[in-house]
Symmetry: C2
Subunit: 312 residues, 2 copies
């Protein structure tokens, strides 16, 4: 198994990315390889500073960098020797089994759509993240930002995609699915959500248990999969982030609140494309990068893209 | 000043409501009266148990109760001697300056629309709540549940309504207003939010500072007013609620997290109607009821409905 890492992407690249890569290695087995994609001089210098043997990695040299502020589509098509473009090329020709980056999210999405492509039958790809539940489970929230305006059929399919993620990556059998809404009753919410409710209720591939409200998150009652559009999903993902930030800044100590740390999740897979790709937060430092790599490894082990291809 | 309280509304009515009423009295001045609206025998019995002199209140006897599960419009029109219907009648004929209830929210909204009416020019009334900011301010979030599907012009007007609330109830001069969105850039979000951004940017009555993301909430950077549709607003309101619940259940102690307690806010006014009405949470107990009453008192003192009538 070979996982590619974009060494040049992220606010603290390449240093923090290489540090995270080094930390992740201890979790790799002998037949697994981490491929560092980026400026090889940067990589060699940093590894030498860290007194790490470069041969522990495979290194693929690139000469261009897609910056965080670059226009995604333009940068992706013009910077053919950037780490993101090269990574996607390797995914496409089969020399990588997974790829991850904390770099320009837009460019990562462009690469997903134009290089490895959306799986036929998938209406809209999504980003899925994990929310910690008080009873030690993790729930999948889908979508957290790719598709702010969702039609009902897209939400219904997110129920299926989220279930596959929960089943194969988290190992949850017959995952329960709820629709995020503003009331428990079937008649609540926008017309889109009401229609989605009707459709999910009847769907044979979704273990649908009804609506979940904002105060149903995190508790024992939190379902295994929570479906929402990318607007509300993104807002609650980031609200969780700031709650954890404040918790840390107040010097509180608690096992549960520790688990809300986005840095320990590391990244969210792009669900619904023909490859296993994980996107990290732009502000990722060493720890978050390590966990993004390990998340990618999990997604590859679970064969996520393949399972979705078979199910859709 | 006379404030009416629906004694029969809420999961723990009438006992917890009367207890909250008793607690609130210490904050009332001599020329202010709390009017208990409900079954007088219940009220007398409870006050007698608490060894409280009934003449401290005014008591208006009602014979019917709108239950939490009743159909709002039907119950409101059929139960003319319910505490909610009588309270709205008193608001309308001017014998009350404000009214609050933790009872059937739907029936409270029906009463708002059909008895005291929406202020001409207000596109859609809204519920506004307060979110605590780390720097000790409170921010207004509008809407938190009345209007899950918002058109751009409704969001823009929420910016104005929220500003009036912040100015007159919280005393914030020239309140800053942001649009809740999934990115800071103008081009982010749904088509509705993008159009609202364009309109708010140019609006002379809104001190618009741009988009705010979910991780901008609670921090020093949190604006005085945050505008969103009632779907996302309701989800984040309730997510705040569960975060505080978990914080308490973990036996943590922190001044900031204590301020996230919805029970210390008590209730949210219905903004945009011809009267000062505050709605409490159905699960309100003694403390939340007290704060709902005090919130109503503040809204009446601020003359909120009148200021909105003049501004719109």
């Amino acid at each position: 198994m070979r996982i590619g890492l974009d060494v040049m992407g992220g606010d603290f690249a390449p240093d923090a990315v290489i540090e995270g890569a080094v930390d992740s290695l201890q979790h790799f087995s002998d037949d697994e390889k981490l491929v560092l994609i980026g400026d090889e001089q940067c990589i060699f210098n940093k590894l030498s500073n860290m007194q790490i043997e470069p041969s522990l990695f495979e290194i693929v040299h690139t000469t261009q960098v897609i910056e965080m502020g670059d226009h995604p589509a333009k940068a992706f098509s013009q910077k053919k020797n950037s780490s993101i473009a090269v990574g996607y090329g390797m995914l496409k020709n089969g020399t990588l089994d997974g790829f991850c980056s904390a770099g320009n999210t837009g460019a990562m999405l462009v690469g997903a759509s134009y290089t490895v492509n959306v799986i036929p039958g998938v209406l809209r790809p999504a980003l899925a993240t994990l929310f910690p539940c008080i009873d030690n489970r993790n729930s999948v929230i889908i979508d957290v930002g790719l598709n702010p305006d969702c039609k009902p059929d897209v939400l219904v399919q997110y129920g299926i995609l989220g279930s596959i993620y929960a089943k194969y990556v988290l190992g949850t059998e017959n995952p329960s699915v709820a629709l995020l809404n503003i009331g428990e009753e079937e008649s609540k919410g926008t017309s889109v959500v009401k229609t989605a409710y009707e459709m999910m209720k009847e769907h044979p591939e979704i273990n649908f248990v009804g609506n979940i409200e904002g105060n149903g998150l995190f508790r024992e009652t939190m379902t295994d999969v929570i479906v929402c559009d990318g607007f509300v999903g993104n807002v609650i993902l980031k609200m969780g982030e700031v709650i954890h930030h404040i918790y840390k800044s107040r010097n509180l100590q608690d096992e549960y609140f520790d688990r809300m740390d986005w840095e320990s999740i590391g990244g969210t897979p792009i669900i619904g494309i023909n490859a296993n790709v994980v996107i990290g937060h732009g502000i990722s430092k060493r720890k978050a990068i390590m966990n993004m790599i390990l998340q990618t490894r999990k997604v590859v082990h679970a064969n996520l893209a393949q399972h979705i291809k078979e199910a859709i």
